[in-house]
Symmetry: C2
């Protein structure tokens, strides 16, 4: 395995036509491969609009099994372009049992791993607890030809525990398919704080764990079908950070983008030699991390 | 208890004269109080140079018991100025048993709590494992008239576990006395990455926990007494961040500074309502956080 790998992040706006969205994704995978990418990371729920703005039972029609049509299509694209693909699927596991699931396709097209989103948000505009059962697969990196991928999804990005558990399991990099944006109802100072916080907490995981972080976010405005809110303006700015949290590459806010960036995995070892945090963890004093609150 | 409190951070350069250093600290506490501060946070080992650049047994002469001369002086200053003070002491607990300990003095001068640094670094220029036994008091905030202070020290700042444990124990804010700087041997790009990483990981704790973070760092150049290295240029930039990681105030790099900043504790509740991370932690899946590595 080479020390450097070329990582691509695909940032897209999504319309209502699932096939058209997936077609654009496949084209982006081809384009990424033609630019030398070996790993292509897609955004969360890239096949559809972000349907969690409302709680509507009809939206369960958008779900599909794994393997299923989406993973088949992504597998074909992975094999045709000889790249590893991290995709995102609204998974129907059984009637009434759904997950927000990331899938990993090896460059030969095989489905080599999946991760079911463990931390599920629920706040105005992001009613995910209605749709997604919290994942039951735990935090385990997926071994691929480009390294062990610590795949997490969106809301997981706010939880240092998830990043740490992936690192402790030997992940070579953290990968976050994401769908996050602004409420137009918030003022610009609040919007800036939210976006900065999002960068900061994920770059913080890179620092605390000495590990690269790859984030694919959605872009574009999506109206709230219920009309109850002002919708979501997804803030794009997909990015790739190195193991000191340094930004290696970043996409724009308001347009579809393909970000291709060389990531030097040898930096992980170099950084952890000067900042050996894993050496100094006081694991015998961490038991209360397993509590809800220490009261 | 009022929703807003005025927090002061004292950033100093330290010379070889312990009494002179402490005298400057007392003057800074007076000045902070005259500017309305209710809480004054001092930097790590503010009474002395950062002696851990070398391993020299004579340096144990700098240690003192708790309570002892330094805590007595800080208690007087706290009482005289009616402020809560977080100080830092090289603690001699017994012959051959030393700690790097933060102390909390209430505004009536009583010593209301101490925290013994739990994570101890050891890397070129920071030979702390020679001097400091890892703390055995665990992670517990100190209750004061200005709130529950989640006092941690320097190297702790790189560990999300420490910030989380303090938050789960009901800390109202995190407080980090610190001594960190650049090696002049590193190039400017590496220096910038290190300082950015330091800001980022601590601001990340603010975000992940929805909690203000108060950081007091040392400034000034200190030569390596052994002559083996190029010394340390402490990078100052003490700062105060709000519960979204937003920088509320920040000192300069290369001068002594007194930073006084109003912190609105009501923001904690407001931020945690929109980002209720504590609600969604998957505690039943975190057991491996207590492992050294998951191999």
């Amino acid at each position: 395995m080479s020390h450097t790998i070329n990582v691509a992040v695909v940032q897209q706006a999504c319309g209502g036509d699932k096939q058209a969205n997936l077609q654009r994704t496949v084209e982006a995978i081809e384009q990424a491969a033609s630019q030398g990418a070996q790993l292509v990371v897609l955004q969360e729920l890239h096949a559809t609009p972000y349907f969690c703005q409302t709680e509507a039972t009809d939206n369960f029609d958008l779900a599909e099994p794994i393997p299923g049509p989406s993973t088949q299509l992504l597998a074909q694209a992975a094999r045709a372009n000889q790249v590893v693909v991290v995709g995102s699927v609204f998974e129907q596991r059984a009637p009434g049992l759904y997950h927000n699931t990331a899938v990993v396709l090896e460059k030969d097209g095989s489905l080599v791993g999946k991760y079911r989103k463990m931390h599920i948000p629920d706040d105005p505009g992001y009613y995910e607890k209605f749709y997604f059962t919290p994942g039951d697969l735990g935090f385990h990196p997926v071994s691929t030809s480009v390294g062990k991928l610590g795949v997490l999804v969106c809301w997981d990005q706010w939880f240092p525990e998830a990043a740490r558990l992936m690192t402790l399991a030997g992940a070579d990099m953290l990968v976050y398919p994401t769908a996050i944006g602004w409420s137009p109802a918030d003022d610009s100072a609040e919007q800036k704080r939210q976006q900065d916080a999002w960068f900061t907490v994920q770059r913080g995981h890179a620092v605390a764990n000495g590990i690269p972080v790859i984030v694919a976010n959605r872009t574009g405005f999506e109206a709230d079908p219920s009309g109850n809110s002002a919708g979501i303006r997804f803030w794009g700015t997909s990015f790739i950070a190195g193991p000191q949290g340094e930004i290696l590459g970043k996409a724009a806010e308001d347009t579809a983008a393909l970000l291709v960036q060389r990531v030097d995995r040898a930096r992980v070892d170099a950084v952890r030699r000067i900042w050996p945090f894993l050496r100094d963890r006081r694991i015998e004093e961490y038991a209360d991390l397993l509590k809800r609150f220490r009261d």
